[in-house]
Symmetry: C2
């Protein structure tokens, strides 16, 4: 029996074409059933353009679209026929096994929270991001689902990330670090100090504070932060990489020798770009909701969509939702941890 993966064809900067192509690629590569959720006419037009037989897919008509700038809560409440609302409802009714959307992130988070509900023991969902590091990949959570969190939310993110990392990357007892402005436990805001206390008392491989400059070192498998800080860190990385690339290119182009040099390192530059390419890592898991939801980058191309589907399949094969539930409730029942909460 194969999994049914729902894909939001209407969401993303390059929707519907790149999303459609990504879903087609995913079906070919992973052999699972793809459920295409979007405007029927648009899906049919894409199928004609790319000579794809729609009989191999399930098409679910979702006439409404939620734009990137729309208010999440309002759009989910008002647009009952949007691809995000319909997709999430299909997941709730178990007509699909996972839902992938590259559309309005806030709306996807909001729909999942309202319609699927949360895993028992989890108070808020968090978006996990795969950050390429010098050692491999670190999972950073949260990068924007929850911008007004409580310390307990961050603690739960750490537990969920640790379960995810262990199951998806096959690493026993992965390390969990807390993003902070210094390594000593006395450093940081009152908020992070309180989060630190929760982690220190829990049966987890907590390795203490991680400074932002060490995020890319791969020292920590999972890095926990509040959604505002995580989103800023992520966007600064994007902006910094882009600006540095342009700066460097401009400088090199002004030097006559530079142009020749550039031609000689072209192959390396391409390889380098691939290491940093977010599309390789697919989407970001929305952890904590009671169902498998993958949030794709707004700029996703077909490869990113295909890899987001792969991320969904990984979660399904490892039964991640149940594993998170059992781990988080185990910790909440842990005597030492309970004592520390009272203290």
């Amino acid at each position: 029996m194969s999994y049914k993966i729902g894909v939001d064809i209407s969401g993303g900067d390059y929707a519907p074409e790149e999303i459609f192509k990504g879903a087609v690629l995913a079906r070919k590569e992973y052999g699972e059933d793809m459920v295409l959720i979007g405007v029927r006419e648009e899906i049919e037009a894409q199928a004609r353009k790319h000579k794809v037989d729609l009989n191999d897919f399930t098409v679910v008509h979702a006439p409404e679209k939620i734009d990137m700038g729309e208010s999440p809560a309002t759009s989910v409440r008002r647009k009952k026929n949007s691809s995000i609302t319909i997709g999430t409802n299909l997941l709730k009714e178990k007509k699909i096994d996972a839902f992938v959307s590259c559309g309005n992130t806030g709306a996807a988070v909001c729909a999942a929270t309202l319609l699927l509900g949360l895993i028992e023991g989890v108070e808020r969902p968090g978006i996990g991001l795969m950050l390429p590091t010098r050692e491999g990949v670190s999972l950073v959570i949260d990068v924007g689902a929850n911008v007004d969190p409580k310390p307990m939310h961050l603690f739960q993110y750490g537990v969920m990330a640790s379960v995810y990392y262990e199951l998806v990357f096959n690493k026993e007892n992965p390390s969990v670090g807390l993003l902070n402005i210094g390594e000593e436990e006395t450093k940081g805001s009152d908020f992070v100090k309180n989060v630190h206390k929760l982690f220190a008392a829990a049966p987890l491989n907590f390795t203490g504070n991680v400074e932002a400059k060490h995020m890319f070192s791969g020292k920590c498998d999972c890095i926990v932060c509040d959604g505002f800080v995580g989103n800023v860190a992520l966007k600064v990385t994007e902006g910094c990489a882009e600006t540095m690339g342009k700066f460097l290119f401009d400088t090199i182009m002004k030097d006559p020798l530079g142009l020749f040099g550039l031609l000689l390192i072209k192959r390396s530059l391409r390889k380098f770009k691939r290491i940093l390419d977010y599309a390789e890592y697919g989407g970001a898991p929305l952890l904590g909701v009671d169902g498998v939801v993958i949030i794709g980058h707004g700029r996703s191309n077909s490869k990113a969509v295909k890899n987001a589907v792969r991320a969904a399949i990984h979660e399904l094969k490892r039964d991640l939702t149940s594993q998170i539930k059992s781990k988080i409730n185990g910790i909440l029942q842990d005597e030492k941890f309970k004592q520390s909460m009272i203290a």
Copy 2:
């Protein structure tokens, strides 16, 4: 009459040598009086080593040192004879006109706040950072002085940054943006939404939210954020630039052609490095304290120290402290702004 600039010879990763050399360079280049605050024997040893006549300088013996990892409040309270405490006291007693330290940032902020006090109308000091952008320089405040701020603190940072930018960079009515995770005013945490309201009501060139990925675009002259977020953004930039450089270098070195290419772009790479070099921008002004204090990067070399002294002279020549006082109190008395505070 020349200014007397106090320099903390004991603070910084490369103290005392690089700091001493920086102070000597600064005297030569700017012709102001340099007051060397540190362990007398160490200063004398440096003078012998670099064949510097100490009769051209004032030396103030400060036998104690505050290490980088020490708790700021405790060290300032206990180490009365540290270079940071003595230097700040000299500034308070008007025996020097400005104080430059590359030592423990928290201790320098704490000493300045306790000993100098704050400018009337300012509730917390903030550290401003000069960020190189594609258009020139943006002043980002706060990058770590205040990690548990109230909305009013960030508003005051915006006012101070705007005065600084106008006077030091000679730009009339500089733009002020608020670092946020989206451009719409409904975006972000409750905290930043409240800061947004304060800015929107004030007679300032407030241009709204700035996304972190646009920090390097130079769209905004001044960028306001809380000290935790600002410090993370700054450190992510450092980590990202370093990691990208190493990644790229490793990739190129694996390719036989790459090595030749690298030789050809070497000159450009050096030029590029200079654009990004924090040492060019000197130290970071500690805005809000009643006196001119410049915080240097812990990794400061002699050039960075010299440029930090230049930053201090800029502030003194433009009488920044008084200008901030008059601007901030003008705004706090502004009728429209007062109305918005009541509403």
